[in-house]
């Protein structure tokens, strides 16, 4: 099988995986958020969280909306990634739009990596708003996941630029007889 045939096949599979991720991510976030009080009760690592056992529904909704912000950025990035793989599925490896899609995904990953810790902190703080004074908490943490995403985003941003130059060269090559 030629490289281009393999790229087309993988492009189709990855575009499908991106679509599945775009559907699954909001559902996973919502499910995990709704299960948070239950997890606090039943799973020891979550027991230390300063959130109430039964948070007020309004605060739960507010926290969920805050967490949606980084998710929307990530979904936009996955949408750009899906478009990139659709280009590959059609055999358009060096198109300008494919390069722009890669750059868009890289930017989304960078913004997500910066927004996610802030949103986590804000959502946690919102949940503890119902606690009595002295038991409210605001915790900000930057994990290896966010740092890894920052590094990957920067690498992909550079590769996106390189791919734009490659698409320019491919255009020039295509104009040779």
């Amino acid at each position: 099988m030629s490289d281009l045939a393999a790229i087309r096949r993988m492009g189709r599979a990855m575009a499908l995986a991106c679509l599945a991720a775009m559907i699954a991510l909001p559902l996973l976030l919502t499910g995990a958020w709704l299960a948070l009080p239950e997890l606090k009760r039943t799973w020891p690592p979550f027991a230390i969280l300063p959130i109430p056992a039964e948070p007020e529904p309004g605060l739960m909704v507010a926290g969920w909306l805050v967490l949606l912000l980084p998710l929307v950025v990530l979904l936009w990035g996955v949408h750009r990634l899906r478009r990139l793989f659709l280009h590959y599925a059609q055999g358009e490896v060096f198109s300008v739009d494919a390069a722009l899609c890669l750059s868009g995904f890289a930017r989304a990953v960078l913004v997500w990596a910066l927004l996610q810790p802030l949103a986590n902190g804000a959502a946690g703080a919102i949940l503890t708003l119902g606690n009595p004074p002295g038991q409210r908490a605001l915790a900000l943490s930057l994990g290896t996941g966010e740092l890894g995403a920052l590094a990957i985003g920067l690498v992909l941003l550079v590769i996106g630029r390189v791919m734009r130059e490659a698409s320019r060269l491919a255009d020039e090559n295509a104009s040779f007889v």
Binding site: E172, S175, F176, V177
Partner: protein, 76 residues
């Protein structure tokens, strides 16, 4: 561009149609037409070699250099 493609002259000399040349060389008629009009950025040596083989000619028979000054004088 100072480089002028004189392929149409060679085709007339050999009494060959563009369609037949394109088929023999292995390029599309559209690309051959662009080449004849000088509307391509470049010509691969492999393509030039095949055209020369089919038309039994030299690269110099297909390309000519017309300096801009000489061209302007010719236009006047």
């Amino acid at each position: 561009m100072p480089i002028v493609v004189t392929l149409d002259v060679m085709l007339a000399r050999r009494k060959m149609r563009s369609k037949d040349l394109a088929e023999a060389v292995g390029i599309t008629e559209a690309n051959l037409s662009l080449l004849k009009q000088g509307k391509v950025k470049g010509l691969r040596f492999a393509t030039l070699e095949r055209i020369c083989a089919v038309l039994d000619c030299q690269p110099g028979d297909l390309l000519a250099y017309h300096p801009p000054a000489a061209r302007e004088a010719a236009d006047d």
